[in-house]
């Protein structure tokens, strides 16, 4: 369902150092683009300290929208889009086995239907968590989650001190949530 073979062809469209992105803790930002049958999408891959890569995606049309991560496209292509994220992560992991995979399942905001989803255990979080747990095993990764904020992190077991990375990540998340 989320196999990389089903991923959309993607290309890198942006490469920014942490300084130019002005995003707290972000060391590097890479932006990829792909297109479904209907719309072009962007995937932002943020690299945080300890080789943590966080994946975010949205429709290119919503690039300037502050709620771009919260909007539903209703296109029904979630599995192939997540597969594209996995495909990108695998290419990163091939080059850097210390790489860890993280995501935040944004809560849905639908102004037309007047729906604002609570931030804990969002629908996106539940789906992405299931996908990560199906495809990334416990031999290669140690899995951590914060359902209260719908955050998930799979830390590569190639790292010497996985528990310490989880602590560092927790501290960063705490600061980012305060922003």
């Amino acid at each position: 369902m989320f196999e990389p073979e089903t991923s959309y062809p993607y290309r890198r469209v942006g490469d920014h150092s942490g300084l130019t992105t002005n995003r707290k803790h972000v060391e590097h930002l890479t932006i990829y683009q792909f297109s479904t049958d209907k719309y072009p999408y962007l995937i932002e891959v943020e690299r945080y300290p300890c080789q943590i890569y966080v994946f975010k995606f949205y429709r290119r049309q919503h690039k300037k929208n502050k709620q771009r991560f919260n909007l539903m496209t209703n296109e029904g292509k979630c599995a192939r889009i997540v597969a594209t994220c996995f495909s990108i992560f695998l290419s990163i992991y091939e080059k850097n086995p210390l790489a860890s995979f993280g995501f935040l399942g944004a809560h849905t905001i639908d102004t037309q239907k007047q729906i604002i989803e609570p931030k804990n255990e969002t629908r996106r979080f539940v789906v992405y968590r299931q996908a990560v747990q199906n495809y990334f095993g416990t031999d290669t990764f140690t899995h951590f989650s914060n359902p209260e904020n719908s955050i998930y992190l799979a830390i590569s077991n190639k790292n010497k001190d996985v528990a310490n990375i989880a602590e560092i990540a927790s501290a960063m998340i705490e600061q980012l949530l305060d922003l």
Partner: protein, 52 residues
């Protein structure tokens, strides 16, 4: 004359309070380990691992 014993130690009270504040802050972004058993229970075994 015996030593005056205060009913409670103010310094200790403050330090306990600060500790609880720190604890409250650190649990906000706290990442809990997901056990292998939990993952195994939730995982759909039919899917093949991309990374085991």
């Amino acid at each position: 004359m015996g030593k005056l014993i205060t009913p409670f130690n103010h310094k200790k009270e403050v330090s306990v309070h600060m500790a609880s504040v720190r604890l409250a802050n650190t649990t906000k972004g706290y990442l809990a380990k997901v056990s292998a058993e939990e993952i195994k229970a939730r995982r759909v075994a039919a899917y093949r691992y991309l990374l085991p």
